[in-house]
């Protein structure tokens, strides 16, 4: 008999003994037909077995069917280092709930218990269609767990893994997340662990969950009531979605969530993480020092992302409401948000942006157009039968070109995020008006040059000035304002 054959017989007898009531086991084993050494080993194993309760047990999760308080466990639906989430049935209220519990090995970890309590309180303080509803915080014996709304759907991570997301869907999802964040931030609660794994797409919409690292913003709450769950200098969160200040263990705020939101929006639009999925230290280094690549993100959305992902919290949106507004105004067909009017205009300009030069240029050109209306009327009698016609043509060009310029100037100062889509539509028209205006001015100048040299000089200089403006100055200010790609696009269109 080989040792493994022998072990099988030991196992068989051991199983039979276990199936027998404890007092009868000795009789069963001794009365078996196995050799006495096998019997001895089985008895030793039985003794060890009785003594091995909990021995080598993995952080035993509640098994299906287990009862905890008034909840019956159905199955595990999620698991992470700090918690296990079960689908359970609430026997009191007859409904399915999600139970988030600590793994048993952390039951007695006061810090983890405090964290779970804080998560429950944070989420319970919020009532928003895009935030998972917390029903109760339960403590049964050693166990502590949160009962919350059971959400059927898939995580944003799964959705991202399944393939590209259309832009309109990406915007729908990101707007819901931004609204949830705003609701939380309004109550002084910072999520601090926003990532695709914590966002569930259900039939009833997008739900943000897992306020496990949520922190009551010190500024918004009584300082004494705030429990510090993470020591200063200790990292908590998921590195690829953490803002630089969070990675560095510095103070976190609502703007920390803005950063994670920017990363999420980037990922939603491009299907990839802005800092790649390389080794963790590489990712952290990039979060701290590199700006994300523009990729093929439409300009207005890119402005939102670039602003939200600023390295310094103070360079991000001054409030989550600003972010929500910028997002709402960032794509064509968006419902104009009533909040938009209250957004302080200058704050929406990306820090360091040269948009100011570009918009000033628009204003000056428009004023120049209008300035020339009267001289064109004044000289109409000197240019013979075409004088009135020339005047009317100039007036038409000035009205179209000048007004569009003024409109662009106003938009750049007030709703910069809406600028790019509008530019794409009207830049050709503006360019045509520029060329026509410039030619007419030069033409008038040449016709009246002999008789009225002074007036001719005025027209020629405005004609040349306009030509210079659209050939040289505007491309330069556009490049300063929008970067080279956008200005190339504008140039190509002209």
């Amino acid at each position: 008999m080989s040792s493994s054959e022998r072990w099988q017989r030991v196992g068989a007898l051991f199983d039979r003994a276990l199936a027998t009531a404890v007092p009868d086991r000795l009789t069963l084993v001794r009365g078996s037909s196995e050799p006495s050494d096998v019997q001895d080993e089985v008895l030793a194993l039985l003794e060890s077995h009785d003594d091995s309760h909990g021995f080598l047990e993995p952080p035993a999760l509640l098994e299906p069917g287990a009862q905890i308080g008034s909840y019956r466990i159905d199955r595990i639906i999620g698991r992470g280092g700090m918690g296990v989430v079960y689908l359970a049935y609430d026997a009191r209220l007859h409904r399915a709930v999600a139970l988030k519990a600590l793994p048993p090995h952390l039951f007695r970890d006061d810090r983890m218990r405090a964290r779970l309590r804080q998560e429950a309180r944070a989420a319970a303080a919020l009532s928003h269609p895009s935030i998972a509803t917390v029903f109760a915080l339960e403590e049964v014996g050693d166990q502590i767990f949160i009962a919350s709304e059971f959400l059927e759907g898939r995580t944003l991570r799964e959705e991202l893994a399944a393939g590209p997301i259309t832009q309109s869907r990406a915007l729908e999802i990101s707007r819901a997340i931004a609204a949830a964040l705003q609701a939380a931030h309004d109550r002084g609660i910072v999520h601090r662990d926003l990532k695709p794994e914590n966002i569930i797409l259900t039939a009833n919409g997008v739900k943000v969950l897992d306020f496990g690292l949520a922190q009551f913003d010190v500024a918004a709450q009584d300082l004494a009531s705030v429990t510090r769950l993470t020591d200063p200098g200790v990292m908590a969160g998921t590195p690829p979605y953490m803002a630089p200040e969070q990675l560095l263990g510095q103070a976190t705020s609502a703007r920390t969530d803005q950063f994670a939101f920017g990363v999420l929006l980037y990922e939603l639009l491009t299907g990839r993480h802005p800092f790649g999925t390389g080794a963790l230290p590489t990712t952290i280094a990039k979060v701290l020092s590199e700006d994300p690549e523009r990729a093929n993100i439409p300009e207005p959305l890119w402005q939102v992302i670039a602003r939200a992902m600023q390295k310094k919290p103070e360079d991000r949106f001054s409030s989550t409401q600003d972010l929500v507004s910028a997002l709402a105004g960032s794509f064509p067909g968006a419902d104009p948000s009533p909040r938009q009017a209250s957004v302080p205009p200058a704050r929406l300009l990306p820090p360091g942006s040269m948009l100011g030069w570009w918009s000033t240029h628009q204003l000056i050109v428009a004023l120049g157009y209008w300035f020339m209306v009267w001289p064109t009327w004044h000289i109409h009698k000197w240019t013979g039968r075409y004088g009135v016609l020339t005047f009317l043509a100039t007036l038409a060009i000035v009205i179209v070109g000048g007004n569009i310029r003024l409109h662009l100037w106003f938009t750049a100062r007030t709703y910069p995020s809406e600028l790019a889509p509008q530019l794409a539509n009207i830049s050709r028209l503006v360019r045509a008006a520029d060329v026509a205006f410039s030619l007419i001015m030069l033409g008038i100048g040449l016709v009246i040059a002999d008789a009225h040299t002074g007036w001719a000089a005025l027209f020629v200089s405005f004609g040349l000035g306009a030509a210079l403006a659209f050939l040289v100055i505007e491309p330069t200010t556009a490049r300063a304002a929008f970067g080279s790609a956008e200005s190339r696009k504008l140039k190509a269109e002209s």
Partner: protein
């Protein structure tokens, strides 16, 4: 199922790196969480393309083996450091926290002793040793072990029970 050994380097490196990270940050009273590491490794590696594993369970099976090797290596390294000293520090698996709650009753399990006992068990019944590895080092549930090994949960439970009694017997001070 592909041979876990082929897939090892990627998972193994990731786990070792994570473990090193965690241990550097370790403060008194904190413990290394093997399951947390395994799950974090999964989350990170699952983002990569060309995943050689079929699914999460398959991954956890590979990770469990890697985790065992990492803990054994660490234990050996510490023994080597202490060699020649007054006493040899026992490396207990409460480092892995998996045994954190057993620590009170058993005083912890020595990784190297457990590893040796598992080798003995593998000679008798490789599948039983594998089940212990998956449950203990990988934190898999009975159902997940059953899925990973393509056997019934009842069989897993039966094997687990006797394997545990065997190991308890082996590790008990004689």
């Amino acid at each position: 199922m592909a041979d876990p050994a082929e897939l090892m380097p990627q998972v193994y490196d990731e786990l070792r790196r994570l473990a090193a990270n965690y241990l550097r940050q370790e403060r008194p009273g904190q413990t290394l969480q093997a399951t947390a590491l395994v799950h974090e490794a999964f989350l990170r590696l699952s983002k990569e393309k060309n995943q050689p594993w079929k699914n999460r369970t398959h991954f956890l099976a590979i990770a469990a083996l890697s985790m065992r090797q990492i803990l054994v290596q660490r234990a050996r390294a510490r023994h080597a450091e202490k060699r020649g000293g007054e006493h040899v520090e026992r490396i207990t698996l409460d480092e892995s926290v998996l045994a954190d709650h057993t620590q009170e009753t058993t005083g912890g399990v020595d990784v190297l002793e457990l590893d040796a006992a598992l080798e003995k068990l593998a000679a008798l019944d490789p599948q039983q040793a594998k089940i212990v590895e998956l449950r203990y080092f990988g934190g898999l549930t009975v159902e997940e072990v059953a899925e990973a090994l393509d056997i019934s949960p009842a069989t897993v439970k039966r094997h687990w029970t006797i394997a545990r009694a065997f190991l308890k017997n082996e590790l008990s001070p004689k």
